[in-house]
């Protein structure tokens, strides 16, 4: 938006806006790092992550004496937790990102469409969402396990289908409210089609809320994937994901806490980064709020307060 040719001087590009914000830029760096791990990790550390050493199990973190790879300790099979953490990022992201994106895309487009048109389309859509929500997703998983072969694609499908109603309902609620707004009426008077109106007016307004939900949904998907492995539909060893590491380390929470805690922290870190970035994006994408991000850090609160009453 700010990149349009009409942007007057003084406005800043999104990237430099991001650079000004310490928290948001840290979050972005974390996500980029995780992405990098996901891409190159398996190539660099793939063998190290599966190398067992039954004589060096459950080494606590910082057991550098046993080798640098045991900086985060070893698991119950003597494998390097650090290496597994890096390599697992790949599998984790290849499940979580498509699952979240799929449910986000399908759910929000469907929801915006339903809310925009209201009437029968809306109520049928909402009843479908009710139906999906009424099914325990585990049942779906067991069915997939029995009828299809367990695979990454099926895990993604199960997770995505189960989460679609969340976005569907959220997008529907906001879209239904927006479609009665005057500026949408105005767009109609130009002859703008419904999809174009949705794209231009509904989508940008609904997106921040959807992103907020999607950001925290990340962890949900990652953890659900781990409970699917209990049924046999999850990631199968020797592949590894954070969810699987958490699930396996769970049994040892009391004796070797690091096995479950580090992947847990990785999940939390990813989710928190995504959430902080989503919060920042909400502000950066809202012209009414963007100015706050351009303020110097100190005294921000006071200025806001004064401006608020003015």
């Amino acid at each position: 938006m700010t990149n349009s040719p009409t942007t007057p001087p003084g406005k800043v590009s999104m990237l430099s806006l991001l650079a000004r914000d310490r928290v948001a830029s840290t979050a972005a760096v974390v996500l980029v790092l995780i992405g990098a791990c996901a891409v190159v990790g398996p190539m660099l550390l793939g063998d190290l992550a599966v190398e067992q050493n039954l004589r060096a199990v459950n080494l606590p973190p910082f057991s550098i004496g046993a080798g640098w790879e045991f900086v985060l300790g070893s698991d119950s099979l003597g494998r390097s937790v650090a290496a597994r953490l890096v390599v697992a990022a790949g599998t984790t992201m290849s499940v979580a990102v498509p699952a979240v994106l799929l449910s986000l895309t399908v759910g929000s487009i469907w929801g915006m469409w339903a809310g925009f048109h209201r009437g029968r389309r809306e109520s049928v859509s909402m009843r479908i969402a009710d139906v999906i929500l009424s099914f325990p997703s585990l049942l779906l998983a067991v069915v997939v396990l029995y009828v299809f072969t367990p695979s990454v694609a099926n895990i993604i499908a199960v997770l995505a289908v189960a989460r679609i109603p969340i976005y569907l309902r959220t997008a529907r609620a906001e879209s239904a409210e927006l479609q009665s707004r005057l500026f949408v009426d105005a767009a109609r008077t130009f002859g703008t089609g419904s999809w174009a109106t949705i794209r231009r007016h509904v989508f940008p307004t609904v997106l921040p809320t959807l992103l907020t939900v999607a950001a925290v949904d990340f962890c949900f998907v990652m953890l659900t994937e781990s409970s699917l492995s209990f049924l046999g539909i999850g990631i199968q060893p020797p592949d590894m994901s954070w969810g699987l590491m958490v699930a396996q380390g769970r049994q040892e929470l009391q004796t070797a806490w690091w096995i479950a805690v580090f992947p847990g922290l990785a999940i939390i870190g990813t989710t928190v980064s995504a959430a902080m970035l989503a919060a920042w994006a909400r502000m950066a994408g809202d012209p009414g709020q963007r100015w706050r991000l351009t303020l110097p850090r100190r005294g921000r609160g006071k200025i806001t307060a004064r401006k608020g009453v003015a």
Partner: protein, 337 residues
């Protein structure tokens, strides 16, 4: 009344009913428009006045095809826009535009002035070539009295009057023949109102656009309109050239409205007593029989309840129609102006 050559817009017998929930009993019909007849000439400004809830805004929405009427017809240069589809409809859309009452709600706060004004072109792609849009936005901004440098600013950074100017510029972007102005100044401060009204007048002079100007403010209408139509409970009760209607109203309701607006000197000088209407506007869910106004009319007789009056031209004023069984006498000649 403008002749066929110059008639741009013609509305006849327009009705529109809404279904509303009415308590536990079920749904009831709310008759927002009940046989409305109007015409609008090329380059003309028709003022449409009436209390809130009389159906003015519904009429505007029907004219912009935001609502589909239950009965009656709309003709725009002889064409019924409700029969249009696809390209033809899009071409029609270009000719009729609207300026909304609320300059806060009618502008998407996420778009800046340039994007707002240029929004229609994203649908009507061939109207202004992409390369020339920025220049055209600057032109339009200046045309409505804003600075070209304001293009990158967002609605919330403008004052109410400035926003309404953006709304007008957006309506002008498609170079329409008619602009329906739905209470365009009622949300603005008095001083700003005048500026916007003058702007609208100037634009008309410059571009030759017609206005259907909806307002509950008689002062404003008198200021801008060539002709006026007065609505009451979904019907037009009186219409005619502004001077004739305001100078000597034929319908008691018009007279009452004028009387309630003390700043209109004509009425006071007309020597009439101040008329104070009693009671609320009856619910459009269950309107009075016969003449809609009879429940509040101080002249009402039995037949007012039985027969709905039809619009008739006033003797000597062929363009001045009123739907009343007991029209008021014209004000004595020699009234000012």
């Amino acid at each position: 009344m403008p002749d066929d050559e110059t008639t741009l817009l013609e509305v006849g017998g327009l009705t529109k009913t809404f279904e509303v929930a009415a308590g536990a009993s079920g749904r009831t019909a709310l008759r927002a428009l009940d046989g409305v007849d109007l015409t609008l000439g090329r380059g003309e400004t028709l003022g449409l006045v009436g209390e809130s809830g009389c159906g003015k805004s519904t009429l505007a929405r029907v004219l912009l095809l935001l609502e589909r009427p239950d009965g009656g017809h709309v003709r725009f240069s002889g064409v019924d826009p409700f029969t249009l589809r696809g390209k033809d409809l899009l071409a029609w859309r270009r000719r009729v535009q609207m300026v909304f009452q609320d300059p806060f709600a009618s502008l998407n706060p996420r778009l800046n002035a340039a994007e707002l004004i240029g929004e229609p072109w994203r649908t009507h792609r061939d109207l202004v070539p992409a390369g020339k849009r920025a220049a055209r936005v600057r032109e339009l901004l200046e045309l409505v009295g804003l600075r070209a440098a304001d293009a990158g600013r967002y609605p919330q950074e403008f004052s109410g009057g400035q926003r309404q100017r953006i709304g007008i510029a957006r309506a002008l972007a498609l170079e329409p023949d008619v602009i329906v102005c739905d209470e365009p100044v009622s949300a603005l401060d008095l001083s700003v109102q005048a500026q916007v009204l003058n702007l609208l007048g100037d634009l008309q002079a410059e571009l030759g656009v017609s206005y259907l100007f909806i307002s509950h403010d008689l002062t404003v209408v008198r200021h801008i309109a060539d002709r006026v139509a007065v609505m009451y409970l979904g019907r037009v009760v009186e219409s005619g050239p502004t001077e004739e209607v305001f100078g000597s109203p034929a319908h008691p309701y018009t007279a009452a409205l004028l009387s309630a607006a003390p700043s209109l000197d004509a009425v006071r000088e007309g020597g009439r007593e101040r008329i104070v209407l009693t009671g609320e506007v009856p619910s459009p869910v269950d309107p009075p029989s016969g003449c809609r106004f009879r429940t509040r009319c101080w002249l009402a007789e039995d037949r007012c309840a039985q027969v709905a009056p039809v619009a008739e031209a006033r003797p000597g004023e062929p363009a001045h129609h009123a739907a009343c069984h007991l029209p008021l006498e014209p004000v004595v000649a020699g009234a000012p102006r």
